[in-house]
Amino acid sequence: MLVLIAAHAAVAALLPVLAPRAGRAVWWVAALVPLATLVWAAALTPSVLDGDAPVEHFGWAPSLGLEVVLRLDALSLLMTVIVSGVGAAVLFYGARYTSEGHGRESALLLAFAGVMLGLVTADNLLLLYVFWELTTVVSFLLIAGRGRTREHREAAQQALVVTTGGGLAMLLGFVMLGETAGTYRISELVADPPDGGYVPAALVLVLVGVFTKSAQFPLHGWLPAAMVAPTTVSAYLHAAAMVKAGVYLTARLAPGFADTEPWRPLVLTVGLLSLVLGAWRALWESDLKRVLAYGTISELGLLIALFGYGTRNSALAGEVMLLAHATFKASLFLITGLVEHHTGTREIGRLSGLGRRRPVLLTLAALAAASMAGLPPLVGYLGHEAYFDTFWNAARYGSGAGEEWMLAALVTGSALTVTYAVHYLWGAFASRPGMEPTPQEDPGDRALGMAVPIAALVTATLVLGVWYTGAETLTEPYAALLPPYLAPYHLALWHGPSAALALSVAAQIAGVLLYRLRPALAAVRDRSPRAPDAQKSYRRTEQGLDRAALGFTRRTQVGSLPVYLTVLLATVLVVPGTALLLRDTPFTAPPLWASAIQVPLGVVVLTAAVTLARVRRRLSAALLAGAVGYGVAGLFLVQGAPDLALTQLLVETLTLVIIVLVLRGLPAHLGPQRAQPRTRRLRLALSAAVGTLVALLAVAASAARRDPAVSAYYTEHVEEAGAHNVVNAIIVDFRAMDTLGEIAVLLVAAIGVGALILLPAGAGEAGASARSRPPAADRYPETARWGVPQDRWLPEAEKMPAHDRLIMLEVVTRLLFPSILVFSVYLLYSGHLRPGGGFAGGLVAGQAFTLRYLVGGRTDIAFAGRADPRVITGAGLALAATAGLAPAAFGGDPLATALPSVTLPLFGHLELSTSVVFDTGVYLLVIGVCLKLLAAMGPAQVPVEETPPPGGGAGRPAPSDAPGSRGR
């Protein structure tokens, strides 16, 4: 089966390539594939009907319940025969019918046949869903054609939206079914159907999918609209194949779920309503294809009701009607195509005298219409007899669940079916009094090529009717799966005088009479209250959705960042807040403090933070932010995290320095708060509420810990990493991969800063930058000129005006700089054993350079660093990555640590750890980032015009650059 489906796909992919050379012949090639499928199915028929269903199985994602399982049982076989038989006929027909775009049309139709084959053989709900949606996609492409007219596009879009919407509901239902039953295998699900729980809801959802796909009231509007598609598409998709998918699914699930509420009432109500209303609407259409389209809605309603009723006899009737409908409706569509081909129209009002001129076509149409109307000896008659008998007996012996109403609906539907069959036949072929015969062009042998597939389909409807034992053999095995509430019905052309026959005859006579009374009926129709037009309500829904979306967007998308954040925070407050309130474990009173020193630290932190929120001077704000950071570092220390405290202190210092450096280029005060008092109160209340929520969450979370911490593993195995400091071991060894990623982020951030600050504003922005020249720049007169510093200590400082120099700082820097660097290296290498490490070491070194920067300006940094910061940064990342990868070269895992020990003459025994190399990479990178940031901050305080972009390295500014290094 998989091979056949793949063959459909492969040939379909080839056809557009072949089309430019082969022209029409591609249709013949395409038709061969379903023909081969038909032959294959025929060959398998005896064994499948004996109950031996071949299964093909391929794993896909079995853990998710996703598997490709194809299974060919009796029902699948029946559908396969229909899909491939009608498919082959339509493709043969298409060769003569289609006049352009052979490659696209034939390929899509063939792909569609393949998808349908997959759909009817899939034995997994999710796989079935995939094929189900693929039919939707292909049908969208087929209906849209090349999307030339708005009508085509809208019809295609409507079909897509409606059936996909139903499909989504169905998917939800499938998942609910599959999860309740514990299996997604359809065969297992039907054999042992789950009960209770989600099952009723799941069935309703699945049936919504069925009703949209099979165009049932009130979701049918897309099918008549889709009649803009070419006849081949209508015949195949909208009569024989795609719309049958819903019927197929009903039939597939009925053996398992027909007795589960609310399956039967839902299916019968919708199906029978569609039967009657569809047939009624068909009477009033003047476009032949739309007559057939409403007829299809009606027939599909009948089929869904028959299969959904879920008894042996009704299923048998359903199967026969399925076969009948596939053959006669496809032939009628194809005949309509031929009529249109001959006359250029399919409007009933413009057709006249066609029957007399085309007797063969008339005969074929009459046979197909007779099958539709249920006349013997055609297969349609067998079906009508079967369901009349079934429901007559159900009404007589039934449970009293309204079977009489069903019978009445069936008789009415049959009568109306006869009426629209006559309407179609007369409309297309009759000679109208007082009307010239419609002019025809002579299509020559093309008509013959189109008539042959029609004849084949009509022959099928005739043969299946006459050879009713064959029809029963094909349909009996599936029907036998369903409970035979009454004596099993057998197909026959003549059962003797029976109630079913009487009903059938009555329906025929009533149907013909109704056709005679059409004018009177029209008056009834005009007077009766009109059912809401499905098409109009679809459009109204669509527009309503558009408008609602627009209104929603207008209200929610106001373009204001504070508003968006307010919404986010309110959500945070409401959702986790509700969860917090609803939890069952009560709060236990927490201890006041874990360590008394927390109280003064907390007071400092909170005071600084609250003041930070209120100050208007940028510098004060920066200092207060620093105070918060230092206070938090103290809290870290209390918590038992010296590494963290160290890093926090270092980072805070560096942040403070850099912010202050940048602040020199910005106005001294933050902008005034322009928000309304009401808004400000709202913000205040909201942030206070979120803060309270976080505090409560923290208390709740700390009380909710049940399992031991995962880090016990790290603590126990820290010696294996050659370390004593567990935190450092985690950073450079246990979770070194994370660290690698993190230093990469740092690198990217530093590059970003460099680009943002050093990049020239550009000529086009001259106006903008002139307008926005930072006023603070004027306060820094050009104070220094310097050449290339070579060998003197702090050369820049000497070139500054004396009043700008800080002698004490210069001296202290001179003394401290080397010592700090040595200390940073010490931190790096001792980090493995006690607090420290690459981050801390790198930051300490960064502080040393910051100190020099403050004293000597930017060029001094370039001098002190010697190397380009970019090189240092890159080298750090490369070193860390290499150290991580190196073990792989020796057959170890990446980022693994080795512990070589050496004995050196002077130092004695040394235990080393290779993770120190990794840490050194981190160290270098952090230094590089610090240098890069300092280098970037130099120009940050002068207007762009006065700072031409540094030509080469970022650390080598042009001579005219002002140092402006004092943040006073």
């Binding site: 998308q557 704000a621 918060v628 850099i658 926005s772 054993l833």
Partner: protein, 150 residues
Amino acid sequence: MTTLDLTSAVVVGGLFAVGFHLLLQRSLMRLLFGFLVLGHSTNLLVLLAAGPPGRPPVTGHGQDRASFADPLPQAMALTAIVITFGISILLLALVYRGWLLLGHDEVRDDVEDRRLGESEHPRRPGDVAGQQEGASGRTTGETPGKGEER
């Protein structure tokens, strides 16, 4: 059992409140400070959630390892501190750049964002042109520097 003490909870909650309050302002610099404060408070929260204070997790002195503070949140917070530093400085650079190019450091309303909701025919973008004037008239009046940033 609740292991978090009241003082720490109040500090964390207070820091979050201040951080979000700053984040709700329109001044980019205040946003930056809000970001910094939120960084601190989140690191503190991660650390506090690990349990009550313990001894520094450094072995080798014959200490009882059960009395250690949880080292994993410390390692996470440590890298988080460094990354917060990098990102804050990047934000700072953005503030500076914005100041340089636009002459202000405020988050103005996004006019483009607003226009989306004001077009009559959302499916046909060609029709939006006629709506633009009405749209920009209702906003803060300042055109954002979208076209200037390249």
